[in-house]
């Protein structure tokens, strides 16, 4: 195929060179089991602890507050299930309707297990209101779980204000930080967080590894059983090369965040503005809200998003018509319907998510192709016999 352009960094990111180098070195040289007593094990342990400190640095916490997991989904499960399961008496959880399935479906499972869940709605801006959070509090509320940044819209949730509310009320506060980590500064202290989930492959690390921040003094019940790894919170031999990759990715993100953030938001605005100006019937979802710098979600009146994604892919441009996890599903994005789009309009939307290697030239090429494809799709009236 001709040149390909990747505009789907919210689905996953390529492994950065620095991450790759660190992982290869680990795979080659440090194969020991981090729990072993001997030198091989100690070497592996040292790498794991170094990575723990690197992740801690990204989140502004101590290395000891980090638990390594298999990824964002496991981290969310561990934070929520590990806090709410097994608690006796009335239990109440507050979350939103725009969470990723890694939180959404955990909350639904808890509902089936007898936990009361309040599902907070968002407005057209894709942002939950702290007042709504405050209003949903009850004496039996145990946890608030609200994402830091939405995966489809990029909208940042007011987790600082929500953190203050949670502290004041003495309620646990968990955030799914998978789309925020590495893209915006996160300081778990300042944000008043008890838990934060992140995933390595969204920040130029490898797939299959993630972390959960757990505030000192909070604890979770493990959700699987085995050895005593990760301070008895997450059994299983450590994925040392993966953890090393996550550590390297966290370090890289911390070092490049301010410049990269400014660069990406410039490119993102160029994309959004360009599309709005060049393509008639184009609109931006939550386009004026505070967002992660790399994400734009655009709708194209009268165009089938699924067809647009395929047509663009055949021309070498990788974009997404919603969360990657739900592609193939017939339901339109729950996030887009949550911000008030009709099913029809929700199916006409694409998510563009930019990354490290995205350039202004790539954005301009995308705009050119996008405008041409959208125009062609709109001209496709019901076919006439070709007789040719």
């Amino acid at each position: 195929m001709a040149e390909r352009y990747y505009f789907d960094h919210n689905a996953t990111t390529p492994v950065a060179d620095e991450v790759f180098a660190a992982m290869v070195a680990c795979l080659r040289e440090t194969f020991g089991n981090a729990s072993s007593i001997h030198g091989f094990g100690q070497d592996a342990r040292a790498l794991v602890e170094k990575a723990r400190a690197q992740v801690g640095a990204l989140l502004g916490c101590s290395a000891n507050d980090i638990v390594f997991t298999s990824g964002g989904t496991e981290s969310d499960n561990l934070a929520i299930l590990g806090s709410l399961r097994g608690k006796s008496g009335a239990r109440h959880l507050i979350t939103t309707t725009i969470e990723h399935p890694a939180v959404l479906n955990v909350a639904q499972q808890l509902e089936r297990e007898g936990v009361d869940v309040t599902w907070l709605a968002v407005g057209a801006d894709g942002v939950v209101s702290p007042d709504d959070v405050r209003g949903a509090l009850r004496p039996e509320t145990l946890m608030i779980s609200i994402m830091a940044a939405n995966n489809e819209l990029g909208t940042l949730q007011p987790i600082d204000a929500i953190g203050a509310i949670a502290r004041e009320a003495g309620v646990l506060f968990h955030t799914d930080g998978v789309q925020a980590a590495g893209k915006i500064p996160l300081d778990v202290e300042a944000l008043g967080l008890d838990f934060l989930a992140l995933s390595a492959h969204k920040l130029y690390g490898p797939k299959g590894v993630g972390a959960l921040y757990i505030r000192k003094g909070r604890d979770v019940e493990p959700i699987q059983y085995g050895g005593t790894h990760e301070r008895r919170r997450r059994p299983g031999t450590e994925n040392v090369p993966g953890i090393v990759g996550l550590g390297a990715a966290a370090k890289l993100a911390l070092g490049t965040l301010p410049e990269e953030s400014a660069r990406l938001s410039g490119l993102r605005d160029r994309l959004q503005q360009g599309a709005l100006e060049r393509i008639p019937g184009c609109w931006a979802n939550a386009g004026g809200s505070p967002r992660t710098p790399n994400t734009a979600n655009l709708g194209f009146e009268g165009v089938e998003g699924e067809a647009l994604v395929i047509a663009l892919d055949l021309k070498g441009f990788a974009v997404s018509s919603g969360a990657a996890c739900s592609s193939g599903a017939i339901e339109p994005s729950h996030v887009l319907t949550a911000i008030g789009l009709s099913r029809e309009r929700a199916k006409s939307c694409l998510r563009f998510s930019l990354g490290k290697k995205t350039t202004a030239e790539q954005v301009d090429r995308l705009l050119e192709t996008l405008a041409a494809v959208v125009e062609r799709l709109r001209k496709l009236a019901p076919a006439t016999p070709s007789h040719a």
Binding site: E306, I310, D313, L314, A383, P385, H387
Partner: protein, 379 residues
Amino acid sequence: MHDDLIAVAMSGGVDSSAVAAMLHAEGRPVVGMTMQLWNQRRMPELIPEGGATGRCCSLDDVYDARAVAAAIGIPFYVVNFEEQFERDVVRPFVEDYVAGRTPIPCTLCNNSVKFEPFLEMARQVGSETVATGHYARIERDERTGRWLLLRGVDHSRDQSYFLWGLTQRQLSHSLFPLGGLQKSEVRAIARRLNVPVADKGESREICFVPNGDYGRFVERYLEENRIDRRDLAGEVVDERGRALAEHQGVHRFTVGQRKGLGVAVGSPLYVTEILPAERKVVVGPREALERKRFLVERPNWIAFEALTEPVRVEAKIRHQFRPAPAEVRPGAEPGFCEVEFDQPQLAITPGQAAVFYQEELVVGGAWIAAPGGHQSQVG
């Protein structure tokens, strides 16, 4: 023209896989697409033991189609038509059974999914031509300019019976590369081109009822949709209206059926008619199944624009039926035609299609109407 992108509808089976491999080997630009039509997990109890492999829309088949596309080296996408499929195929299928008819979902699917939204999706992604693994041929009549449908050369595999509903527009945008081949040749080609599923078995059942229990499917669907499940049970009666037995629902019967009538009489009895309004299933001796004349509705003509005078044809009234000489003529009412076989035929079944042939050519086809009734409303 040969540089134009072709969208191959890939089911994960050997036939459509061979089509993709053949076109690609010819150097034509190809994109593979699998239609996701039905969620097999929705009614898990209808999956036979050992899984539903070999039925369309099982995860295994999507997996196979993707593997074939990867092996050939063509782009591949899964496109979702579950909504259309349920609306235009599954629901009418259930409604037909409830109304005492015996539907052909494959024809409904061809008419309303495979060659309509799929064709539309193909055009949207930049392909004006859709290729499928059907055993049938498309030719252009240079004299009239019409697109003609012909039987597959391999008569034992011929699928033209399911394709009579295709419009001129649909035919003009479709390719059936297997129409001129024997099945054995297709397998050989698939092997030669290293298609991973060259030796895969075949699906025989309706794709969304993998275990073949249509009655159970209808009941589950009615329950699931909370459709007012009118009491479908009633009586099995003889031709004079005398009750012979009770039955559990008209949807469990089809004209010509002999087994499962719950009637113990000396001579074999067959379902001759289903009267859904009275929830009666009429049975009679084999001779009572014989008829020469019947009405068909909503015809689609392929060889010509409209039927204006009687035409001699060979009519086929179900998939496993040897076409028999008949005359088809315009009916008294618009939208209807009358068919008269030269010799009486057994079990002319409402809901099935009558397809009219002249040797290899598919002249056209229509839905078999309930005797005397014009109330039929499929789709």
